[in-house]
Structure formats: structure tokens, C-alpha cells
């Protein structure tokens, strides 16, 4: 198995005013992600999940260790990786279609081809009928689907998703999870998905990496092997509950520790 993404010994420390040694967000993280894999990273709040994603995106560089993409170190942002943000990051003055075209403009695709590709990907997320709407005319779930279409449109090999469904209501979240799973199966992208939701992690991931509380390290990796054809509602199947409990147990102590850490940090 050749790793698409290889994270080895990665640590990241922020400079914080008032702290001489800074704040260590990540400490010796090791994780390999295969080509076409759907990898989920879960962890308590403040464990450095988003920091890890920023490193993969090339938006910041690790203090120690290295992050490889196709065997090459990541030196900066690039369109070989698409990012989906929790806050959608749609340009409010552009229509859904123009938002999808935004990434295509960045890589210099000609206008007509841009429009065609944008519509193709809007169709993939089921929003072709809303191509001319502005973000404020769309629901939260639709906005995130537009953002996903935008990230897919310039055809990156890797999709980095930073708690993309956290701001959505439960029903919308479930339907978007279904849709993302379908898109992943259809496109064969390598997906790194960050969440603090245990069910979301188990439902989506082929592997779920559990991070410890700050400083974040990989506590354990759970392989998920759900027989999706077995039940109509896989989320209520016993095997699903089993995995859910396994991840929950791993996270439980970390969440408690993260709480303690927050209490310590507040008075500073």
C-alpha cells in the first residue's frame, strides 16, 4: 500500500503572547492515508484537528516532522488539494455557479469550459436548479453542497474537510453524509475528514483516527468495516453501535482531559 499522504512525527507549536515556549497543538503525529481512502480524524475540541488539516493544506508548516503528498513534502497550498470549510466560505456576491467557477478561475480554465464544469459539479451535488441563486438565498446544507462542488470542480486528488457539517441541523447533516459517501464512491477521491461527531466518523470513515487532547497525538486508529447492504438504516445496526462505542470509549477520557485543560487555560 503506497501512501497518498504520509504524516510522520509531525508536531506544531504556536507562538502565544505571554507563553515563552508557545502552545503545542500537535505532538509527534504519525498517520498514513492510502490513495482513495476515506480517513476520518476525531478528537476533543482544541486537540489540534484543524491545525493538522492546515498542515495538509499547506496553509502552515509543521514545527517538527514532515507531511508528504505522493512522497513529496508539502511546501504550500495547491489545487491538488481541495478544502471544504465549516463556514462554507462562499463569496456572497457570486451566484452558486460563479462560486463553483471561482476555483476554476484560479487555475486559468477558459470561460466556457468553466461554466460547463461548474454546472457538471453542481449537478453532482444536486443543485443545478439553483445555479443562479446567491448564497443568502440558499439553506445551510445547500451552501455546503455548493462549497463541496467548488472543491471538486478543479479536480483535486485529495479533499480536505474541516468539520464541514458541524453547523447544520441533524437531518441535513445525515443527508449530506449520505451524499458525501455517494460522491466519494463515485469519484474515488482521497478524503481527509475532520469532525468531533462520533457517529459521523463511524458512518463515513474507512478508518477513524482518534486524537488525544492537547497536545494532539494519534491515540488509536479504528478500522471500520460496515456491511452497508445489510440494513436499510445502517446507523441503527448492531455493528454500527459496536464501532460507535469503541470510538466513544477511546474519546471519553480525552474529552474529560480536554475539559480540565480548558479550565486551566481560561484564567491566563
Amino acid at each position: 500500500m503506497s501512501a497518498k499522504i504520509s504524516i510522520s512525527g509531525v508536531g506544531h507549536t504556536f507562538g502565544v503572547t505571554g507563553h515563552r515556549e508557545g502552545l503545542t497543538a500537535l505532538e509527534t503525529v504519525d498517520l498514513d492515508i492510502a490513495d482513495g481512502e476515506f480517513a476520518v480524524i476525531v478528537g476533543p475540541s482544541g486537540c489540534g484537528k484543524s491545525t493538522l488539516l492546515d498542515l495538509l493544506a499547506g496553509l502552515s508548516t509543521p514545527t517538527t516532522g514532515r507531511v508528504l503528498l505522493d512522497g513529496e513534502p508539502i511546501t504550500g497550498p495547491g489545487v491538488d488539494r481541495g478544502i471544504v470549510f465549516q463556514q462554507y466560505a462562499l463569496l456572497p456576491w457570486r451566484t452558486a455557479q460563479a462560486n463553483v467557477e471561482f476555483g476554476l478561475e484560479a487555475i486559468g480554465i477558459p470561460r466556457r469550459e468553466r461554466a460547463r464544469r461548474a454546472r457538471e459539479y453542481l449537478d453532482l451535488v444536486g443543485l443545478l436548479a439553483f445555479a443562479d441563486r446567491h448564497p443568502h438565498e440558499l439553506s445551510g446544507g445547500m451552501k455546503q453542497r455548493v462549497a463541496i462542488a467548488r472543491s471538486l470542480a478543479y479536480e483535486p486528488a485529495v479533499l480536505l474537510m474541516d468539520e464541514p457539517f458541524a453547523a447544520l441541523d441533524a437531518q441535513t447533516r445525515e443527508s449530506l453524509q449520505d451524499e458525501l459517501h455517494r460522491i466519494w464512491q463515485r469519484t474515488g477521491k482521497t478524503i481527509v475528514f475532520i469532525t468531533h461527531g462520533i457517529e459521523e466518523a463511524v458512518y463515513l470513515g474507512q478508518r477513524v483516527a482518534v486524537l488525544t487532547s492537547r497536545p494532539g497525538r494519534i491515540k488509536s486508529i479504528v478500522d471500520i468495516d460496515l456491511d452497508r447492504g445489510a440494513a436499510e438504516d445502517i446507523r441503527s445496526a448492531p455493528q454500527f453501535a459496536g464501532y460507535r462505542h469503541e470510538v466513544w470509549s477511546l474519546l471519553h477520557d480525552e474529552v474529560a482531559r480536554a475539559r480540565e485543560l480548558e479550565k486551566e487555560v481560561v484564567p491566563v
Binding site: 493544506a57 499547506g58 496553509l59 504550500g76 497550498p77 495547491g78 489545487v79 488539494r81 478544502i83 470549510f85 463556514q87 462554507y88 466560505a89 463569496l91 456572497p92 456576491w93 457570486r94 471561482f102 476555483g103 478561475e105 484560479a106 487555475i107 446567491h134 443568502h136
Partner: protein, 277 residues
């Protein structure tokens, strides 16, 4: 942030209630009703203006009934003097406003883009903004003389600060996730500016433009009152000296019409540019 919220408040008051975000009604009757509601208070004021002097509540020598003000405007317009005064005032205020726009928007973008520069300069801009431009009129006259230069200069001065401050805060407050998105796509600085920063800043910049538009008119009138041979400020002052009270009111009404008109023009342009809202 606080400053932009503050200036935003001011503009809302100046543009009046209900000029923003009202969907066009599909039915003509309700449009008509809306127009009536909006103009009712103005008509009431004008009616009061007409009848208070006629009924003897106020000495008509000091408050000319509105209809006579209108006929004074008619006479001034017929003689060509009104156009001459309007032209003088508009030339001064619009050129000052235009120059201020050309200076303040690019400067504001530069200052806003570099955090350290904006932290350094924003207090200074605040200070200038809150130093009444008119207090500096004697200084401008002293240095630039009583001619056109000092009048245009003071308009530039009065317009620059609100535009500058709002442009700085607009650029500083661009949604950070949009900047992160742009960075993740490796956008060049020029494209980042043209495709993200500028469009995101337009609403706040327009708040500054509307404040500056109002300031341009106030300041030019005052400057013309102090020393000029033409312009609406001159007309008002001169009419008062010569006890031509109807034409004094004619000047005042003209100014308020121009002020409202200019603000509406800016609102119209803003709506066109931010039709996505």
C-alpha cells in the same frame, strides 16, 4: 470595527428609514401607499411652512411662505443666477469629493491591508475625522487664499477621513475564511484583491462615501458663506444681508434638494453594485 458600526448608524439616520432591503411590492396600490407614507411627513412640514406665516403664527417677513419660496426659486432659475450658483457649488464639492475618493480608497486599502500600518494610523485618522473640518477653514484660507483652492481643499479634507476610515475597516474586516479560501487556491495578491477583498469591502466603503457626500455639501456651503462671489452658500448669506428673504430660503431649499439627490445617487450606485444582497 466600532468606528464602522458608528458611521453605519449615522448613515442609516441620514438616508432615512426604509431605504434599505425593502422588497419591491408586486402590487401598484401598495407601492402608491408606501410612497404616500414616506412623503407624508415632508408634505406636513411644507404645509406648516406655508400656513404658519399666512395665519400670522410667525412673522412672514422672517419666514416666507413656501409657495413664495418656490416662486423665488422660479425667478432665480429664470434669470440664470440659480444655475450659476448651483454650478459653482457643485463644481467645488464634486471635484473635492472626487479627489478625496481617488486619494482615500487606494490609501485605505493599503493601510487596511497591513495590520501594523492600520494599527499605527487609525487613531490619527480618527483624530482628523473628529476635528471639525470647518474649524480648519481659517487655516486653509490663510495658506491657500480665499479663492477656489482653499474651498476645494477643505472639501477634500472633510471627505477624505470618512472614506479612509471606512475603507480601512472594510479591508480589515473581510471574512477571514474567504482569505483562507483564496490562499488555499494560491491566488496572486492582485487577484486576491480584485476578486475577494474589493467586492467584500464595497458595502462598508459606500458607508464612507455617503458620509463624505453629506460632508462635502455642508463644508462647501460654509466655505462659500465665509468668502465667495458665487455658490449657494454665497447666495444664502448675500440674500440675508440684502434682506431678500425669499431668495435666502430659495438657496436653502436648493441645497437640501441637492443633498438628498446626491445621497440617493450614491444609494442607487451602491444598490447596483451590491445587488446580490
Amino acid at each position: 470595527m466600532t468606528s464602522s458600526a458608528l458611521t453605519g448608524d449615522n448613515t442609516e439616520r441620514k438616508t432615512g428609514a426604509g431605504t434599505r432591503g425593502e422588497p419591491a411590492s408586486p402590487r401598484r396600490r401598495s407601492v402608491l401607499f408606501g410612497l404616500l407614507t414616506k412623503s407624508a411627513a415632508v408634505f406636513l412640514l411644507l404645509a406648516l411652512w406655508e400656513f404658519a406665516p399666512r395665519a400670522g403664527l410667525i412673522d412672514p417677513t422672517f419666514l416666507t411662505p413656501f409657495s413664495e419660496v418656490l416662486s423665488a426659486i422660479g425667478e432665480l432659475a429664470a434669470s440664470g443666477r440659480l444655475t450659476e450658483h448651483i454650478q459653482a457649488s457643485l463644481t467645488r464639492s464634486l471635484s473635492g469629493f472626487g479627489i478625496a475618493v481617488l486619494i482615500a480608497i487606494p490609501l485605505g486599502v493599503l493601510i487596511g491591508w497591513y495590520k501594523i500600518v492600520s494599527d499605527l494610523l487609525t487613531p490619527l485618522v480618527q483624530l482628523f475625522l473628529n476635528t471639525a473640518a470647518l474649524a480648519l477653514l481659517p487655516v486653509f484660507v490663510l495658506i491657500l487664499g480665499i479663492g477656489e483652492a482653499s474651498k476645494i481643499a477643505i472639501v477634500i479634507y472633510a471627505c477624505t477621513w470618512p472614506i479612509l476610515l471606512n475603507t480601512i475597516s472594510a479591508v480589515r474586516n473581510v471574512d477571514p475564511t474567504l482569505l483562507k479560501l483564496a490562499r488555499s487556491l494560491n491566488l496572486s495578491p492582485l487577484r486576491l484583491f480584485g476578486k475577494v477583498v474589493l467586492p467584500a469591502s464595497i458595502p462598508t466603503i459606500f458607508t464612507g462615501l455617503r458620509l463624505a457626500g453629506a460632508a462635502a455639501i455642508v463644508v462647501v456651503i460654509a466655505a462659500e458663506m465665509v468668502g465667495a462671489k458665487a455658490g449657494l452658500g454665497f447666495l444664502i448669506n448675500d440674500s440675508q444681508y440684502n434682506f431678500a428673504i425669499p431668495s435666502m430660503y430659495a438657496g436653502i431649499v436648493t441645497i437640501s434638494v441637492i443633498g438628498v439627490g446626491f445621497n440617493q445617487l450614491l444609494v442607487f450606485i451602491e444598490r447596483r453594485l451590491t445587488s446580490w444582497k
